[in-house]
Amino acid sequence: MENFPFWGALGGGVLIGAAAALLLWCNGRIAGVSGIVNGLLSPVRGETAWRALFVIGLVAGAGIYAAVAPAGYGPRTGFPLGLLVLGGFLVGFGTRMSGGCTSGHGVCGLGRRSPRALVATLSFVLTGVVTVFVVRHLLGVS
């Protein structure tokens, strides 16, 4: 079992699931990151504090972990800026259009056995795979 290289992935996934369970159990909310952020971009009175604190926790959690266990984070070098900007724009547009992302549709929606979430998850994984194939293998970029 020691040469099973996916303990970190599995353990990290369990923590993400636990975070989603905590938010539903305590606050009755779905831990969908795009939905939480969209609520900050279109603020509603009384709805911004918990969203902002969740996002602060998200950033701080990753930062604290990286400070405690700094090994292994190799930042990409020379990644094309244009791909990053175009990718980010499409992620923001598409997740708002479909009402969720990897966490909202994937982690939380599949956990609720939602057919909408399953369709969305299959859709974004499929186009993600096709995009990487085209960009990396047909165009030879990144």
Partner: protein, 158 residues
């Protein structure tokens, strides 16, 4: 107040999970999507761990009439599988494959101090606000109330 503490703790746990699973590294994510190359199955284990927990925990939690600290559960109400769901998720997947970040890891990566994360998050906000602007813009022939369906799609989203 207690709800704010719970949200902060959930965010912290989520951020640690993303860092531990190395999903904050876009190269790992692109490695998962690169089925024709040197495929890295890590993300499948992340999803298995996370969905394994939510499948069990959500069922138990939703037996409660109300959450621990809030007056009611806020769950998505839409049931229909429609065009915006499929097309929006498809557009998101294209961006995910291009950048290697989805919203959670992209925002969490702000805590790692790389130059990529703030650029990605700014572009993400621009994309989300563009969709908001397009969907809230009244159509030229719109009757009063005709924009209701589109405006409603932004509420109670996952």
């Amino acid at each position: 107040m207690k709800q704010n503490v719970a949200a902060l703790l959930a965010g912290l746990l989520f951020g640690v999970g993303l860092a531990l699973s190395r999903m904050v590294e876009p190269a790992k994510v692109i490695g998962f999507l690169d089925v024709a190359g040197d495929w890295d199955p890590s993300l499948a284990f992340v999803m298995a761990g996370a969905v394994g927990v939510t499948l069990v925990a959500y069922r138990l939690i939703l037996r409660r009439p109300v959450p621990l600290l809030a007056p009611r559960f806020h769950l998505p109400t839409k049931r229909d599988i429609d065009g915006p769901l499929v097309a929006g998720a498809g557009i998101f997947g294209i961006g995910w494959g291009l950048a290697g970040y989805c919203p959670g890891p992209g925002i969490a990566a702000l805590g790692l101090g790389t130059w990529e994360a703030p650029v990605f998050v700014a572009a993400l906000a621009a994309g989300a606000l563009s969709h908001k602007w397009l969907s809230e813009r009244p159509a030229p022939e719109a009757q009063p109330g005709a924009g209701r369906e589109q405006g409603g799609s932004a509420t109670e989203s996952a």
